[in-house]
């Protein structure tokens, strides 16, 4: 079983996030692994751990990121959880990629990994907490020509078939797909493990493979700012809110709340 887990390097949602020149400020001081990709890594690890020993021996989990060099922190975290390999695709030509460019780069990297041997599953998080598009997994599946099963809540792999259940806005669904397939897991799919000391130590010295756009045969015009189909022309912080009007409830708090809502024509 070979599994590729795309992981994104994003600013920590607990830090102050900002844009510089219409691009996300990727300040390494606050850059981290997209938290929702921990669910994808956990899902991959559990699928491999459920295999018999002989199959586990030949299995491989590869964490893959399209990011500037600072993005290595995301891969280090993936190593700490127990993945076997880490690949970073970095290139000035990739800066400013929109959904199409990001997907093209990820798909090309998966194809390159396929030249070494089949990739049975690509497992992603349900969303990147900076862009919050939740569209890369479906686009990756379409680009690779594989079935996509997204937002999975339960996952099982047996006899070359992926089985999953999910909750969409409208319904509860059970889906199956033959491997190879693309899977995205919801935050409810599992509880990501905490890294153990041994893996933390080992993660420090693991080698990160680095590929460029040219290594992947990506046309410079198809990715990055040059290939983007959308262009962000303005990014501005919202004006700060005036301080909260705070009322201590001494028996009239509910009345004060009702009056606030009535006064502002909100009810």
């Amino acid at each position: 079983m070979r599994i590729v887990v795309p992981v994104k390097y994003v600013p920590d949602i607990n830090a102050e996030r900002k844009f510089v020149d219409c691009r996300v400020d990727r300040d390494p001081a606050v850059g981290t692994l997209n938290e929702l990709d921990e669910n994808a890594l956990e899902a991959a690890l559990r699928i491999v751990e459920a295999l018999d020993e002989a199959e586990q021996e030949t299995s491989e989990i590869v964490a893959l990121t399209v990011a500037p060099p600072e993005g290595d922190v995301a891969l280090r975290k993936a190593f700490q959880m127990g993945v076997d390999r880490g690949v970073r695709v970095s290139d000035d030509a990739l800066a400013g990629s929109d959904y199409s460019g990001t997907t093209a780069a990820l798909a090309a990297a998966v194809r390159r990994l396929e030249t070494e041997g089949p990739v049975d599953l690509v497992i992603t998080g349900m969303a990147a907490l900076d862009g919050l598009g939740s569209v890369v997994p479906a686009l990756l599946a379409a680009t690779l020509g594989r079935p996509s099963v997204t937002f999975a809540k339960t996952v099982a792999v047996a006899d070359g078939t992926l089985q999953a259940t999910r909750e969409t806005d409208e319904a509860t669904e059970s889906l199956t797909a033959p491997l190879p397939a693309v899977l995205s897991v919801a935050d409810t799919a599992n509880r990501p493990r905490f890294p153990n000391f041994k893996l933390i130590m080992a993660a420090r010295s693991k080698e990160i493979e680095q590929w460029t756009a040219a290594d992947l045969g990506l046309e410079p015009g198809a990715v990055g700012t040059a290939g983007a189909r959308t262009e962000t022309t303005l990014a501005a912080p919202r004006p700060e809110k005036p301080p909260v009007e705070l009322v201590q409830d001494k028996g009239e708090g509910g009345k004060a709340l009702a009056e606030y809502l009535i006064r502002h024509e909100l009810v």
Binding site: V149, L246, V247
Partner: protein, 325 residues
């Protein structure tokens, strides 16, 4: 450039939800609006489409094996949108920002070589005639403006972007069938159960007023629901409250993203994951018994107190006010 053709996704087609009425309203500012469906629209839906100025509904005719549960797969909806754009030579595709529609719009954009904007809070055009999407990002703390540089633009739009406005004059609406071939590799849908919709309350995604209950309810959503009914709002929860089994849907970055006129959080601490899904609300109100609760940082108005006392009293005053009016 108002001679554009704008396609609006109407799925399901039994009713025209408020979010779709918003899309029709936005669409009319960009050009001529037509609807795309995967099933026959109901009589009520057709009447509403007519009132909003839609003359043509394009109803997809899918291959027999895709008419059942598989019809709801985003790759199938994407194939329908793609074929509809090619059929009508449309310039813009608009859909609501549900997880399924986001995927369908992105996949259609991929097939058409079109620029895609997900979760727009507003749609307009710039001086050069490009379609422009504004977004509220980073938990509502930044605004961005992006323009689509391709001929076709595909966007999903968040609910409460505009106030729905019927057309100046109603029109007659015709349904036209069109054949759709799907060549995507699809998973099999082995079971599908539609969720029952609470018909007495507005849906969480679309409501103008949302009342959320958190861990502070200690499992009793009674005061939250009674208050929501007094103000005519939808009810939501935090992820912790849903994991406890106290309620079924949660607001936040991994749950439902909302931007209503009014958000009221009761017994909600205001964790970053929760904020990410509601901070773009116009007015934020909270009731929390901890004077240091982090949610107060983003509130316009808040009461430090017990949620059942405060919500109970507030609901009473509001009901009395409404009766007077």
């Amino acid at each position: 450039m108002t001679n554009r053709t704008v396609l609006v996704l109407l799925d399901p087609a039994g009713e025209v939800r408020p979010s779709v009425l918003e899309l029709l309203t936005i669409g009319r500012t960009l050009g001529r609006v037509e609807a795309v469906t995967l099933e026959a629209p109901s009589v009520e839906a057709l009447a509403q489409l007519g009132a909003y100025g839609v003359e043509t509904v394009h109803q997809a005719e899918l291959p027999a094996d895709l008419r059942g549960d598989a019809r709801h797969l985003s790759a199938v909806v994407a194939a329908v949108l793609t074929a509809a754009v090619r059929l009508t030579d449309a310039d813009v595709v608009l859909a609501p920002s549900t997880f399924g529609a986001k995927e369908a719009v992105a996949l259609a954009g991929h097939a058409l070589g079109a620029g895609v904007i997900i979760d727009a809070a507003g749609v307009a055009e710039d001086d050069a005639g490009h379609v422009v999407g504004t977004k509220r990002v980073f938990a509502g703390s930044w605004d961005t403006v992006s323009r689509v540089t391709t001929d076709v633009a595909a966007l999903t739009v968040r609910a409460n972007a505009v106030v729905p406005q019927p057309a100046e004059a109603a029109v007659a609406t015709e349904v036209e069938g069109f054949a759709v071939a799907v060549d995507a590799v699809l998973p099999a849908v082995t079971a599908r159960t539609e969720k029952a919709r609470d018909s007495d309350r507005p849906t969480l995604e679309e409501a103008a007023v949302v009342v959320a209950g958190g861990r502070g309810t200690e499992g009793d959503f009674g005061p939250v629901e009674a208050f929501a009914d007094a103000v005519g709002g939808a009810v939501g929860a935090t992820r912790d409250a849903v994991f406890e089994g106290w309620f079924d849907r949660y607001i936040g970055q991994t749950g439902v993203t909302i931007a209503p006129r009014l958000y009221v959080g009761a017994g909600v601490s205001g964790a970053p994951h929760h904020r990410g899904g509601m901070q773009a609300s116009q007015v934020i109100v909270a009731v929390n018994n901890d004077p240091e609760a982090p949610i107060f940082e983003i509130c316009d108005f808040a009461v430090v107190g017990d949620l059942s006392d405060v919500l109970g009293q507030a609901a009473e005053v509001i009901r009395a006010h409404k009766q007077q009016a």
